[in-house]
């Protein structure tokens, strides 16, 4: 593994600002990004990444490999929760096992965005369809987790309380939430705008969507650092088993991602993004969806794992390590 890539990544402004946020909580500074600002920044990141992906996609009609990638993305996102659920059930009840499985099957848009910034810095190209892959990978795990929970509950004879049991937990609600949740919607919508407006749109939006991007990402990761550090102390409730899970399963999922990428013959940039999507865990869309679909699950369990363990792991040592592996396989 090329050490300079790892250092470059760890010492890039976004990651350093993430560490700065962690440090702020550690030294008990009162630094804080006030409430709706981080939300606005994350909307910006999704709009920008979606739009830029769309412009990119508009350049050429997606070929067979692009489409295969999208299909693979959905399949992987639906598969991961299955073995995660199986592993987690060793120690957890059905509800929490399903919720955490969904978390790790789904993806983290910010991890993806940080990885694109990482590739930009390393001068490695990637395709606009990877943005679509990201959006498509958000939801399958949610649906899958609910199915897993239902099956397990039925088998164990528990009177079913999950989706479908009461009118307010209907499948239609769940599917709407899964398909049209704000991040999926904004990413795919911006992608579409990018495809439609193409170069001309890009020319006017460039300063907003591209030039500002690294700066906004720094600001947002500063906040992520603060939020992650605050969740660190909630980890005590998780215990060693779950902690180990949160450290090991991203690597397992990353290996799966690298394998699939190799099978599909993806280029380095696309392979890294596919891998990071597999390795990342959702701390926004999924916990929210689970509160509605499986309210018996405790978000105080899944959230710190995804946010305070897996996210930092992926954006610090993960990205360069996955890249090194992909490059070794490639050559």
């Amino acid at each position: 593994m090329d050490l300079s890539v790892a250092t470059d990544s760890l010492l890039s402004p976004p990651i350093l600002f993430f560490f700065l946020g962690l440090l702020a909580v550690l030294v008990r500074s009162d630094l804080e990004i006030p409430q709706p600002i981080p939300r606005f920044l994350s909307l910006y990141l999704m709009l920008a990444i979606g739009f830029r992906g769309g412009v990119e996609l508009g350049h050429s009609a997606p070929g067979a490999r692009e489409i295969a990638t999208l299909v693979a993305a959905v399949v992987v996102a639906a598969l991961v929760p299955i073995y995660c659920f199986w592993i987690l059930r060793r120690r957890l009840d059905v509800y929490n096992a399903a919720a955490i499985a969904a978390t790790y099957g789904s993806i983290s848009a910010v991890t993806f965005v940080t990885a694109t910034d990482f590739l930009d810095r390393a001068g490695i190209a990637y395709g606009g369809h990877m943005v679509a892959a990201m959006a498509l990978m958000e939801s399958p795990a949610i649906v899958m987790a609910v199915i897993l929970a239902r099956l397990a509950l039925r088998r164990s004879g528990v009177k079913n309380q999950a989706v479908g049991a009461t009118p307010d937990r209907s499948w239609s609600h769940l599917l709407r939430d899964a398909l049209f949740n704000s991040s999926v919607f904004l990413i795919l919508g911006s992608l579409l705008v990018g495809i439609i407006t193409g170069e001309r749109g890009q020319a006017t939006l460039e300063p907003f969507t591209a030039a500002l991007f690294p700066g906004i990402l720094c600001f947002f990761l500063l906040d992520m650092g603060i939020v992650a550090a605050r969740r660190l102390r909630d980890l005590r409730a998780s215990g060693a088993y779950l902690l180990g899970f949160a450290l090991a399963i991203p690597l397992v999922n990353a290996l799966l991602g690298i394998g699939v990428s190799a099978l599909l013959g993806l280029d380095t940039g696309d392979a890294l993004l596919f891998t990071i999507l597999c390795a990342s865990a959702s701390y926004i869309a999924v916990p929210a969806a689970m509160r509605l679909a499986l309210p018996e699950a405790n978000p105080g369990l899944s959230l710190p794992l995804a946010l305070a363990v897996t996210f930092p792991l992926n954006i610090t040592v993960g990205m360069p390590a996955y890249l090194a592996l992909i490059e070794r396989l490639g050559s």
């Binding site: 600002i37 939300r39 307010d168 939020v227 916990p287 509160r291 978000p299 959230l303």
Partner: protein
């Protein structure tokens, strides 16, 4: 001034719409909502960081009649049981205009 029941509800913001619906169904068509409430209860600390948006409460205040109160209490109990939250009832006078 008219004697009324003053109902206060603290509930997960994700469930707010359902609770407001319950109020309406119970005949209570007036209420006030303050979002962005933080709190602590049996289900732990809930101070909504805006990144995850998972832990955020809303505070609902509604003045209603004793009958409306009864209906809403019956409807609300299972919701509170399932998702947590608090409902307090006190007496007040409503300045009619």
């Amino acid at each position: 001034m008219q004697a009324v029941k003053r109902v206060e509800i603290v509930i997960d913001t994700l469930e707010l719409d359902r609770v407001l619906e319950l109020l309406e169904q119970s005949g209570i068509s007036g209420y006030t909502v303050l979002r962005n409430a933080e709190g602590k209860g049996q289900r732990g600390v809930r101070s909504g960081d805006d990144v995850t948006r998972v832990f955020q409460n809303s505070y609902v205040l509604a003045a209603c009649s004793a009958e409306e109160l009864e209906r809403v209490v019956t409807a609300l109990r299972p919701v509170l049981k399932r998702v947590g939250g608090v409902c307090l009832v006190s007496d007040a006078l409503w300045l009619m205009h």
